[in-house]
């Protein structure tokens, strides 16, 4: 479908204005074939608008969005046949059964009429096969969401845009879905997923962090963590409270980028370039200072914390933590 080396999806200098309100500002994003890019950000930050621009539902006010090198709004029917799309509000017919709804989507994408097994399998995937005869109006919102997800995959698309696919779905099933997204990614499928669950960033190959219509960074999940503190974090736990002056020397240890700063009375935090290397050096200094150290360990920043820190810092200073973009993604070399 796409030429070698060409990204599956690309957005360059995307801007979108509704009336006087600019909702997307200078977004550059490139999604390599066989990767999962997650778009995360606070509610109303522009995730859905970005997806709608990339899939061709909206014409950008300025900038270009392409899919397989073709402008997203000019895709051929054959190209569209290879795209799966899950809108934020699922389009399901309330008076039809789950089976009939899925069958409608299968027909819409030209799947041949002998497709019973396919529909069963997709419904099994979202754990709805036993409910297939129920009408949509008779099932819960979560089940409707799962059905919409099944509909987005029923034709086994090459490229899938999922706008909050796991909203309203229980954590266990969410985890299952992500595993299966990753396995489909391994088969060469490309996905662009928005989510409100920041923790789901861990499942993505790249994460795009949006705030107020701006793409603050696009990077691997690990680098997102680092970006939150501009490095790796080491926490030093002491057996008694100490004054900050007693720890001044830690700031001069090789590899320490910032700190120490107090997390609690007996826990202090420093940001380092490489936690493994820095911990040994920190241990030496702490021993020399004869401080009552219990442990110096790497603090694994969770995505929620990283997300909040980056967003707050951006709102406070207006600065982006990492100058990321298409180049950064391309440099990362596709799927992790």
């Amino acid at each position: 479908m796409e030429s070698m080396g060409e990204p599956a999806v690309s957005g360059t200098g995307l801007n979108k204005t509704f009336g006087d309100e600019q909702v997307i500002r200078d977004v550059d994003l490139s999604i390599e074939k066989g990767s999962i890019v997650g778009l995360i950000g606070p509610s109303g930050c522009g995730k859905t608008t970005t997806v709608r621009l990339l899939v061709g539902l909206l014409e950008p006010t300025s900038g270009t969005a392409t899919v397989w090198g073709t402008p997203a709004t000019k895709l051929s029917a054959k190209q569209r046949q290879q795209i799966g799309y899950l809108p934020q509000t699922p389009a399901l017919f309330p008076d039809l059964s789950l089976w009939e709804n899925l069958s409608f989507h299968a027909s819409m994408y030209g799947l041949r009429l002998r497709r019973r097994h396919r529909l069963h399998h997709v419904l099994e995937w979202v754990e709805l096969d036993q409910h297939r005869h129920k009408k949509v109006r008779e099932v819960s919102g979560g089940m409707q969401r799962r059905l919409a997800l099944a509909a987005a995959f029923v034709h086994d698309p090459e490229l899938v845009f999922l706008d909050e696919p796991t909203a309203g779905i229980d954590p266990i099933l969410r985890s299952t879905f992500w595993e299966q997204f990753r396995e489909m990614r391994d088969e060469g499928r490309t996905m662009c997923v928005t989510t409100q669950y920041v923790g789901e960033a861990a499942y993505c190959d790249y994460v795009g962090l949006l705030s107020d219509g701006e793409l603050l960074l696009v990077d691997t999940p690990e680098n997102l963590r680092k970006a939150a503190f501009d490095g790796e974090v080491v926490d030093i736990e002491l057996s008694r409270a100490v004054a900050e002056t007693e720890l001044q020397e830690l700031a001069r240890v090789d590899g320490v980028l910032s700190g120490p700063e107090s997390v609690s009375a007996r826990v202090w935090r420093v940001v380092v370039d490489d936690a493994d290397a820095a911990i040994d050096r920190l241990d030496d200094v702490l021993a020399r200072l004869q401080l009552p150290v219990i442990e110096a360990r790497e603090h694994v920043v969770d995505f929620d914390e990283a997300f909040v820190r980056v967003i707050e810092r951006h709102r406070a200073t207006g600065s982006n933590p990492v100058a990321a973009g298409p180049a950064a993604v391309a440099a990362a070399g596709g799927a992790a």
Partner: protein, 518 residues
Amino acid sequence: MRKDAKLARLRQGEHLRASFAWATVVQALAFVRKELAEIVRQPKLLALLVLGPFVLLLLFGAGYKDTTVQLRTEFVGPEGSVYEQAVSEYADQLDEYIDARGFTSDRQAAVDRLDAGELDAVVVFPTDALDQILGGESATIEVLHEKLDPFQQAAIDIASRLAVQEVNASVLTAIAGGTQAALAPVDQASGAMTEQAAALSSAVAAGDTDAMATAADTVATTLADTRLVVATSQDVISRLGGSAAATDASALLAQLDTASEQAAAVSTGGGTDIADQATALAATLDEVAAAIPQVTTVDPGVLVRPFEADPRNIASVEVEPADYFAPSSIVLLLQHLALTFAALSLVRDRELGLFELLRVGPLSSFEILVGKTIAYLTVGLGVGAALIAAAVFVLGVPLEGEVIWVAAAIALVLLASLALGMLLSMISGSETQAVQYAMLTLLAGMFFSGFILDVQSLAEPYRYLSYLLPVTYGINILQDVMLRGIDPAGGDLIGLGALIAAYGSLAVFMLHRRLRTA
């Protein structure tokens, strides 16, 4: 292992995809199945679709009274006048249209009863008719009513004119009847003249000049009356193109003039040869008497009312009012049904968010509309067949023509209505708006399609609106096929075809723009 198998099955979609040509059919079928399923899931809607129109037709057929409405009418005129007598004499002839509620000289009282709704009409005869007529003016008979219904107003207007014409004819008949009293019937004049000729001859034989003069006076009167009728007849015959008969009458008139001159001469004493002149008059009278039966004359009653209408329907089948309205009602209902379905369907899809999926997906606007059209056409044909069957087998509406033409008419009306409905759905912002458009089209169908008023009764620019409605052509076709038993007019078939092409193309174009314009 089990999970791998599950995923493997999930990733087999590529092999499930139909070939390109077949995929188009499958994609259109998506909407056929979806729309049919949604309709079938609503048994009340189905029952309403089929039974509702049928029950309406049944009620109309049973309830329609095929009788002329009698107007409760009071007559106003001078007490003891000729009008009072005439109303009572002609009461029997009037009672088909008029329920006579009496005669009064109090106009205001009659008008008050009209205002109170006790009367439908008040007929006011002129008090000074003779003066007006002698003054060279027509006397006016007022007909007062308070009808708002334009059809009833027209009926009263027409009935009044007919009644006045009847009065005028009656007056003329009476005048002519006076002539007839002296001479009539004209064909009997020959006998009278023969007798008068014999009387003249007797007087000549007796040498009684006074008797000759008296007989000549009688002859002169008879000749004058006869001349009036013959001359009038000649004029009527001439106007009606009866030239040969008119020639015959002209010869008779010349003989009558000669006889009149002779009678005048005898009557005035005529000089010494009065006996010869009387003998000549008698001879001329014999000739006239012999000529009269050869000449065509017209009865005085017929002279003032030479024509009367005798409407006869030469159609092969007698059509009752319910029969007449049944095909129109079916077409109108089918148009409304198809149009509403189509208009609501696309709006509902849009409100459901389906358009967002359609814009991302591979379906073309043509495939979407074809799919929906097939579904609704199937339902519409079923409903149409049920309504036609019920009309024919239950209500006894005639079906004189070919069934295939009925089916074709219904299919074409449905297709044109669906195309129009889809076009309306493109400009509707919500379901409420779509319903309003459907109701407006239904109203337009009632006023402009020939359902109530003949299309030809509409003025030229406004009549074009009729030609934009599928129901206009559908009514023509179904009435031709079902009631007249003839094939549909080519113009009606072409009209429906043109609407399908025009509305369909516009709907496809507008949906395409809606789906493909980001």
